[in-house]
Every structure is written in structure tokens, then in C-alpha cells.
């Protein structure tokens, strides 16, 4: 099997809990207990109240597409053979203005629209890295959740 060519995240102090959770196939986000709000991407202090003692909480992975682009340009190593692919901002259902940037897969790019319900899944791209990606949700079955 060919080695994985695409860019990989380099976790740091702030982001480590996110990537560790992804390895476990869970979606956890930084959370400020003071203003009871999620913060993403994670920050050294809560940008709303300057709190430094921040927590992490698990979220459902359910959301909808806020906006997106269908990339045709071959500009990123490892993605050359995947064009066109979809990059999107996913609005999560836990809170207003809580979005993740990711790929939307398992669907035709041309079938995607703003507002499309999606759910997270976990892609073990290498033995030590898991990416959080999204796929259209089958709303008729009313189910969702992680993995």
C-alpha cells in the first residue's frame, strides 16, 4: 500500500485533546464553563470572558453545511487525484456559530447544498492520525451520532 501523501495535523498543547478524541472516534471540543460555550478552534483563553481554565466536552457530530467550495485546482499534495473534492464549514447543532472545517464525502459534489444535514465520521488515515469528516445524513431514519 502506498504511503499516505496528504498533509497531516501536527497537534499542539491546545489541540491535543481534539486529535486524541478523534483517535477514539469521538468528537470533543473545547468548552468554557464560565460562559457555557464551545470554542473552536481551541484557544489559550475563552475569547468571550478571558477564562483560562477551559474544559473539553463531547458533541454529537450532527450538523448542516453552512457553506462550501468544490475544489478543482490541484494545489495540495496528495489531493491531485481526488479533484473535485468538497471543503465545507459545518455548523454543529450544539450552538449557534460553532463550525468545523472539513470534507463532505460519500456523495456527488454537485448534490451538495447549503443547509444539507450531515454527520461526522472518523477516517483513520494513518495508524496514528484520525480525521473528522462529514457525510450526508439520512434524516428520514432520524438517527445520527458518532461513527
Amino acid at each position: 500500500m502506498l504511503a499516505y501523501q496528504k498533509p497531516l495535523p501536527l497537534a499542539d498543547e491546545l489541540s491535543q485533546p481534539f486529535w486524541d478524541a478523534a483517535r477514539r472516534h469521538e468528537l470533543w471540543l473545547q468548552y468554557c464553563p464560565g460562559c457555557t460555550q464551545f470554542i473552536h478552534p481551541p484557544k489559550p483563553r475563552c475569547p468571550h470572558c478571558m477564562e483560562t481554565v477551559l474544559e473539553w466536552q463531547q458533541v454529537s457530530g450532527l450538523g448542516e453545511i453552512y457553506t462550501y467550495a468544490i475544489v478543482h485546482h490541484r494545489g495540495v499534495r496528495g489531493f491531485e487525484d481526488e479533484v473535485p473534492y468538497v471543503i465545507a464549514l459545518i455548523q454543529l447543532e450544539e450552538q449557534g456559530l460553532l463550525r468545523l472545517l472539513s470534507n463532505v464525502v460519500n456523495c456527488q459534489p454537485s448534490s451538495i447544498r447549503v443547509g444539507l444535514p450531515v454527520q461526522a465520521f472518523f477516517d483513520d488515515v494513518t495508524p496514528d492520525t484520525t480525521l473528522v469528516k462529514f457525510a450526508p445524513r439520512d434524516v428520514s431514519q432520524g438517527q445520527g451520532g458518532n461513527d
Partner: protein
Amino acid sequence: MANPLSDKAAIVGVGYAPERFSRHSGQSIVQYTIESCLRAVEEAGLQVQDIDGLVSMQWADAVSPSDLASFLGLKNVGYYSPSGTIAPGLVAGAAEAVASGLCEVALVYRSMSAAFGVTPSSKEQRIGGKGQWYYPYGLHNDIYYNAFWMTRYMQTYGVGEDKMGTIAVANREHAHRNPHAVFTGAPLTIEDYLSSRYIAAPMHLFDADMPVDAGVALVVTTAERARNLRHPPVYVHNWASALAGNSDLENWPDYTFAASKYCAERLWDRSGLKAQDMDFAQLYDGFSVLFLNWLEDMGFCERGEGADFVADGHTRLAGKVPMNTAGGALSEGRTHAWGHLAESVYQLRGQAGPRQIEGAELGVITGAGMNTGTSALVLRR
């Protein structure tokens, strides 16, 4: 609050090099930076040794003020720009510097090379910092994510690609009347636009500005000194900047507008002016959606009506408010708004030739936008 420095400084010289922007000028960026600066000084009727202020945008492709001072043999520079802001804000900074006596004659310059912008993918596979949230998903530059604004805008207001494409088409029409433009003589129809390849759909090739070898320099001095120089002074009338304080793509509140909204509010509030007072506008168009954001954020038309405003011809030379009269970054070539500034000077002097807007007295020039910060400037004759 009224601006106490309004009209205390003026733009008195303009220089371009190469004379026509080019994909392959065969010159180094240092060569045409020096050339454009010398032409601006000469055009103003000044001497190189009069220069005691150097202002430029210190991002990516750039010739620094300290290097330029050394190339031009300047020994008396009392003001030079810090990095960070963009074209209109840098002219404002130069105006503030001459008005306060930090320097008397400032060069405000920018050069870029066509090679810049062909951003290679990172050599490192592990990407840290903000990039860790983007690169692993195949998002590595601003061309891709500018399409986020297009998508959200188009689907919110029901605007099709046939309307979005008229921004690029209108700019190209104006470029034909500008001898400096890289695309003079290369027509662009809406059919050409629609059949062009996507970079990141819905963004087409022609929605992104054209990388060129280009240097543009302006000379700014005091209003008093300006009155005794070669050309009619173009006064630095009012300006504003705004940092939106929200630089995460994830947290931008609403992708139907950009940082331009906050800057426009400050500019109009501060100056007592409004969009409808402008005889022309040179709106930043590094990507066509940024032009659309400015058009609406400044109040030239209602939200959701920007694409129709352009399609209906209101931004053409004979329209309600002529815009990007030299072709803009999309069709003159990428100068990070220095071309917009230079064109405004020609318009206000009455020297824009076949592009001249009759009786132009007041115009607005804007910088980039997106989700960071930006600046805008009003010039007057």
C-alpha cells in the same frame, strides 16, 4: 469625529513599471520597484533626495523600505511603514506622517511578481498552527476559501453564475482603455467566463486576479507643498480601517458580508459622506466576491442586489457610479490595490484619457476584506 487631518496631505506623483503589466517582464522585482519609484518622483517634479518617507506593504512579495532606501541612496528617511496594513491604510499612514511633520515627501509603493501566488504545497507533511485545521482537508490557500463567500452569497440570494460573472466582464471592458493593463485587447464575454475552468466552484478562473510583474508608486506630500508642483493635487480627504477581530474561518459571523462592512461603517460615520456622494469607486477585486462585498457593505446598493447592480451596467464608465475604471486587479493585474489608487489619481486630475469620468471630484478606494481587516480611503480633487 471629524478627521482633523482631512486634506492636509495630497498625492502628487504616480509611477508604473513595467509600463504595461506583464506575465513575464524579464525584470527582477527590484528593478521595476526602483523604476516605478523613480518615475513617480519624476512625474511629481521632485528629486529623489526629497524623499524622506517610505511606505510599503510588507507581506509576501515585497521590497522593504530599508532595501529601497539603500538602492536609492536615501540618507534622510524619517518615516517608514510598519507591516500589517494594506494600500488605502498605507496612504492614510503617509498622510498622517506628512501632516505631523515626521516626513515631508513619502513614497508609497508596492511591487509584486507574476511568480508569486503559485503557492507550492508545504514540504512538511505535518502541519501545525492554524493550518492543522485546514491542510489535512485539502484547503491550503485563500483562493479556495474565498469561494465560501460566493457559495453562501449565491445560495442566500438566489444569484447564478451568469450574474456573478458580470463583475469580471465589466472590469475587462474597462481594461481595454488602460494601456498599463495586462489584459488590454483581450476580450472577455460572459460565455468565456461560464466556460472557463473552476478553481474552486463556484469560483471560476476569471474570479481571481491576474498575477503580474508590476510596480506602482505614489508620492504623498503636504497640501501646501502639493500646490506648487507639476500636477493638480489630489487630496487625501478621509480614511478608515477596521480589524474585524475574528480571523478564524470557522467563526466569521456571516459569509454574505466581509470585514469591509465594519470599515465602510467607520468611513461613512467619520467622514459624514455616503456611497452616493462618490463620483467613482475603485473596489478591491483580488477575488470578484470581494468586489461584491464592498459594493453592498459600502451601501452602493441593497444587500443581495450587488450582482444585479453590476449586470445592469451601473458600474460601467457611463453607469451610475463607474467602478474599477482601469480594469481592477482582475484585468489590470494584481497590485494589491495600488493600481486602484493610481487610477484614482488620474481620474481626479482629469488625466484618465479614454476612461475619464467627466467632472470627477470625489472617489473611494478600498483594500482587501474577507475575515481579517481592511481599510478604505476617500480622495478628492
